[in-house]
Point group: D2
C-alpha cells in the first residue's frame, strides 16, 4: 500500500488524540508532523500514554508554523484547531500544495454573513471558504475526492444531517417544523482546564446548553436547505451527558401533507445502501451510543407517530470518531484513493 505523508495541526485535544490514534493505525499513512504549542518537544506517547510503544508514537510534537509544516513533506494536513485559528493555517498550506482537511467550523458555511452571525466576526478568507467542500462523505464523495480543502462537518450536524437529508430530498418534511434534541459526551467540550468540565461537575449531571441558538445550527440548516431545495429553519438543543464519547440525537419532524410517512425506512435504505458506516436499525429501534463508540458508524432508527403526524429519527455516533477524527479520515481515504473504510474501525 502506498503511504501518504500526513500532518496533524493542533494534535493535543480530544479530537487530535483520536486522529492520531486512527492515523497511527492506518496502513497508508506516514505521520510526519504533529503540532502542539503546549507539548512541543514531547513524543506523542508521553502526552497520550495509551500510545506507548506503538510504532510511530515516538514522533515529537512541534510548535509549528505553516512553513515548517510544509517543510516536513506533508501531503495532507488535518487541522484540529479552534475555529478562527484554523483559517490562519489553511491558506498557507493550500498555497504550498498541501491538501487540507479542516475539522473546525471555519470552512463549513457557504455564506460569509451567516458565518459572521454565528461566529461573531467576519470570515478572514471568503475565497477559500467558497472553495471548501463540506466533507460529509455519504453525500459528497466526488467533490471530496478532488478537493484541495475539505471542511469536515461538526459532531452534532453529522448526527442530524444523515437521518434527515434523505427525507428532505424526498420532499417529505415540513421545512419549518423540525425539533432536534441531542446529547453529547463530555469530550465534545474539548480538553481544556476548566471548572465546568471537571469530573465532579459532569458526573451525575445532565443539562441543556447553548440555548436557543447553538453555532452548529448554521451548518445544519444550510445543508438541510440544500437537500430540501427550500429554506429549513429548525430548533436544536444540545445537552451534556456524563459519558466520555458519544452523541445521540432525537429528531421529530412534521410530515408534509400528502407525503407517505411509511416510506421513511425505504428512503433511508436507498440513500445509504452503499454507505459502509451508516447502519439502519429499522422501525421503532432506538440507536444507542454504546454500540458505535470508537467506530466510525452512525446507527439510525426511526418511528412514526400518527397522533402528531411526526416522524421521529434517532441516531447515534461517536462524537470524536464519526463526529470528528474518523469522518475526517474517511474524507482522507476518498481524497487519496484508499478504500473508504481503510484504518477505520467498524467494531
Amino acid at each position: 500500500m502506498k503511504q501518504v505523508q500526513v500532518a496533524v495541526v493542533g494534535a493535543s485535544g480530544y479530537t487530535g488524540q483520536e486522529l492520531l490514534r486512527i492515523l497511527l493505525n492506518h496502513r497508508g499513512v506516514k505521520l510526519v508532523c504533529a503540532t502542539s504549542r503546549q507539548y512541543a518537544g514531547q513524543p506523542l506517547w508521553e502526552v497520550f500514554p495509551r500510545f506507548r510503544q506503538v510504532p510511530g508514537s515516538g514522533l515529537k510534537f512541534t510548535d509549528s508554523d505553516v512553513e515548517a509544516i510544509a517543510a516536513t513533506g506533508a501531503e495532507v494536513a488535518f487541522l484540529a484547531l479552534p475555529h478562527g485559528v484554523a483559517a490562519s493555517y489553511a491558506r498557507g498550506l493550500v498555497d504550498r500544495g498541501v491538501r487540507v482537511i479542516d475539522l473546525s467550523a471555519d470552512f463549513r458555511l457557504d455564506s460569509p454573513d451567516v458565518y459572521e452571525e454565528y461566529y461573531g466576526n467576519p470570515h478572514p478568507d471568503t475565497a477559500l471558504m467558497q472553495e471548501a467542500v463540506y466533507g460529509l462523505p455519504e453525500w459528497r464523495r466526488e467533490e471530496i475526492a478532488r478537493a484541495r480543502i475539505v471542511a469536515s462537518p461538526g459532531c452534532y450536524p453529522t448526527s442530524i444531517l444523515l437521518p434527515l437529508i434523505p427525507l428532505f430530498r424526498a420532499g417529505m418534511l415540513e421545512p419549518e417544523d423540525v425539533v432536534a434534541c441531542s446529547g453529547s459526551g463530555v469530550s465534545g467540550a474539548g480538553r481544556k482546564a476548566s471548572i465546568p468540565l471537571l469530573f465532579c461537575e459532569c458526573n451525575e449531571s445532565f443539562h441543556a446548553y447553548g440555548v436557543p441558538k447553538h453555532r452548529h445550527l448554521s451548518e445544519i440548516e444550510q445543508e438541510l436547505s440544500h437537500a430540501a431545495g427550500e429554506t429549513v429553519v429548525m430548533s436544536f438543543t444540545p445537552h451534556l451527558i456524563p459519558v466520555n464519547t458519544g452523541i445521540c440525537s432525537t429528531i421529530t419532524a412534521k410530515v408534509k401533507k400528502g407525503a407517505d410517512p411509511e416510506s421513511v425506512g425505504r428512503l433511508l435504505e436507498e440513500a445509504y445502501a452503499a454507505a459502509p458506516f451508516v447502519r439502519l436499525l429499522g422501525r421503532n429501534q432506538p440507536a444507542d451510543t454504546k454500540n458505535v463508540t470508537r467506530t466510525n458508524c452512525v446507527d439510525i432508527g426511526w418511528a412514526y407517530d400518527p397522533r402528531t403526524n411526526r416522524v421521529i429519527l434517532m441516531s447515534a455516533e461517536d462524537n470524536v470518531v464519526k463526529g470528528a477524527g474518523g469522518q475526517a479520515v474517511q474524507s482522507f481515504n476518498i481524497m487519496c484513493g484508499f478504500d473508504e473504510t481503510e484504518g477505520l474501525w467498524v467494531l
Copy 2:
C-alpha cells in the same frame, strides 16, 4: 409535633427506598408497616444498609395483605407498587379508612378508555379512579388536603407539567405543537434483575426508548388539556442517561399568534411565587440535575427563539424525589396538616 402512623406498601424498589429514607427522617411520621414480598422478615437496614442504626430502621418487612396493613394502625398508606398491582390494594385500604397515596399510574387518569389504551387492560375500579386526586401539589393543594386517595404524578409528567401548565393556562401555546425530550437516571427503570439495567449496559450509553408513545403521555396530555381548556396532543421522547437519579426535560413549544413570548418569565413567577419547591432560574438558564438530586426541588429555566417562534423550557428534578417519593410526601404533608416542606430536603 403530632405523629401520623404510616405504611409503605411495596417498599423494596428504588421509589420505596427513597420513601423510607424520607419517612424515617420525618418528625411527624411513625412508620408502622413496610411490605415486600421478597424481603419479608428482614429489617429495613439489612436490605438497605444505608439505613443501619437509623432510628426506626429495625422495622421488619412484611409480606402483607390489606387486612394486615390496616391492622397495623396505619392512617396513611403509600403504594409503591407496579401499575395494575396498586389498584388491588387501594380499594380495601380506603374502605378501611386508610388514606392512600398511590405512586403507580393506576389512579392518575380520568378516563377509563385512555387507561385501557395506554395500559392494555380495563381499569379494575373506575369509581375510585374518578375519586382520586392527581397529586401535583403546586396545582391541587386544596383537593389533596381532603382526599381519601391521591394519585401521585409520574416522574416525567412532573418535569413537563410544571413548566408548561402556567403557559397553557395563559393561552400562550399552540395545543398541537409541543415536543418534549427528557432524560432520566437509571433508577427510573426500577430495581429489578434485568440484563439491560446492568452497570455495563447503562454506563457509557445513552439512547431513547418508549418511542413513539410512552405511557406517561396519557397523563401529560390529560393535565395539559385541563390547563389549556382545549385538547393538547404532543410528542414526548424519553431517554436513559447514565446517572443514578435525575430527570432533565427540554420542551419546545410553538407560541400562539398574538401571544407575548416575553411574558414566560412573569407567568412562571406568578404561578410559583408560593411554591417552596419550584425554583425559577430565569432566561437562557439551563436546569441541571446535579443541583436538585436528593431534594424535592424542580429547577426551571426558559428561552425564546424568535427564528422558530418557539419557547424552550428546561426543567430538572430528582426522579425518585420530586418525581416519586418526595412529591408523595409533599402531598402527605398537605393531607395531614404539616408544613408542606416537612421532612423534605431542599439542599
Copy 3:
C-alpha cells in the same frame, strides 16, 4: 437553640461547599462570613446553584483578611484552605478570640521536623501547632471541647485510623507490618481547573498515585504510634476512583504473636459503643461507599485470614463529609455544646 456565629474561610472548593451545605442546615449556626478570593461579591447560591432559595444562601462571598473575618462577629472559623495558607490565618484569628477548626494539614502534626519532611518547608507557627488538638472526635472529645484550635483529620487518615486505633491500643498488631490501600472519589483532589481532573480523564479510569510516600502517612503513623505506644511504620497507597465522593480503605495488618485475632469484633464494639457515626458491619462484611455518601458515618467491617495471620479491615466514609466538612462540624458541635450529631445527616 442558641446560635453560634460562624465563618468559613476558603469556601469555594468541594470541602467548602460541603461545609456550607451542612452549616446552612444547622439549627445552631448563624453563618456570618464566607470567603473566596475568586467569587468575592457573589452570593453563595450563585456559585453553588444547589443552594438557591435556601435561607442564608444570599450571603455574599468576601475576599477577606483576618481583621475583617473577626469583625463579622464570628465566634468560630472553619479554615478550608490549602495547607500552608491556613497557618497564615489561624494565629490572627485565635488571638482575636475566634476559635479555629482547620481542615488543612497545617496543625495536624506534633513534630515540626515531620511537618517539614512531608510538606517541604519549616512550619510557620510551631507554638500553635503544639497547642492544636487532632480533631478525631471518637478519641479526643474532651480535648476538642475546650480547644482554641482543632486540626481536623485528613480524609484518608480518618478512614484508616478509626478501624486501627482500637487494635493498636489493645496491642494486637505488629507495628511494622501494616499495608493500607485506599480509593477516593475525585472530589478529594479539589475543585481546581486542571487537565488530569477533567471528566474524560477520570471517567473509566483508576490508578494509584502519591507512591510511595503520600503526605497523609505522616498523620496516620503519628496517631497510630500514640495508640500503640510504639513507633508504627506502614505502607499506604491511595487510588483515584471515578466517583464524586467516597473513600474505601482496605487495611491488612499482621497479628502479634499471642494476640487473639478473634477479638477484633469485640475490640471495635467496645471502642465505638457510644460513637454515633461509627457503624460496625461485622465479620467478612465489606464496607461500601454508597451506603455512607452524604452522611457523617464510617462503616467498618473486618476479616481474619489464618493463612497469613493477617487481619483485614475495610472501612468506608464520604471523603467530604466524615473525611472533611462533616467531621469538622462534629468537632464544632462538641466545642459549642451541641449534640454531637446536630446538623449531620445519618441517612
Copy 4:
C-alpha cells in the same frame, strides 16, 4: 494468511462478547461456531448490536453439544463458560482433535486438592488438568505452542503475576509478605441479571469483596511458588470499581535481606524485553486502566519505599482483553503459528 476454523463455546457473556469482537477482526480466523443456550437461533449482531454489518456477524448462536461443535470443523475451541461447566466440554473436544483454550478456572491448577479446596468439589478430570498448560504467554510460549489444552489465566492473576514473577525468580522477595489490592471493572462479575450488578448499585460505589480468600488466590500462589522455588502465601483483596472494564493492581512486597531493591526496573526490563504486550512505565509511575482498555497491554510501574523496605508494583490491564479474551487469542496465535499480536489491538 491461512485461516483456522474456530468455535466459541459460551459466547454470550462479556468475555464471550470480547472474544467474538477480536475473532471477527482476526485475519487468520474463520468463526464456524458460537454457542449460547439463551440466544440459540439469533445471529451474533442481534445479541450484540455493536457487531451489526460486520462480516461474519450473521453467524447464528447454537445450543450445542460437543458432538455438534466438533462437527462444525472447528480446529480450536475457546471455552468461555463458568467453572465446572467448562470441564464437561473439554475432554470431548480434545478427544475429537479440537484444541481447547479454556478461559474458566477449571484447568489452571496443578493440584486436585487445591482445586477442591477453592472450588468446593472434586475435579472431574484430573488427567486433563495435569496436561493443561497455564496460558501466560510471556512465560509459557513453548508449552502453549504445542498444547492440546491451554488454561487461560484469570484476570486478577494476570495483573499480579506479570509484575511479580521476575522478582520472585530473582529471589528478591520474602515469600510470605506480599499484599495485593486490586480493583476490577464490573464486567468482571459477568453478564447476569442480578440486583448487585445493576447500574444504580454499582455506580457511585466501591467496595472490597471475596474477603479473605478469593478463588484467584489459588492460581496466583501456585504460579508465584513455581517462580520462587518456594511456597508463596499472600494476601489478596479484590474490589469492585464503577468502570466497565479495567483492572488495576497494587502489590506491596517485602524485600529479602541482601536483595537489591534498586534492581526491580532492570529485572522487569530483562524479563519483558521481547514481550509485545507488557509496557514498563518506570519508577514511581502508576499504571492507569484508561491507557490499556480495549488493548491486550499490561502497563507496569514500580516504586520502592525504604521506610518499610517494600517494593510497590502497580499494574493495569483490561480485564476482558489481557485478563480474558485477548490473552486467550494471544495463546491461540502462538498455538497456530500466527504472529503473537495478530488481531490484537495495541492502541
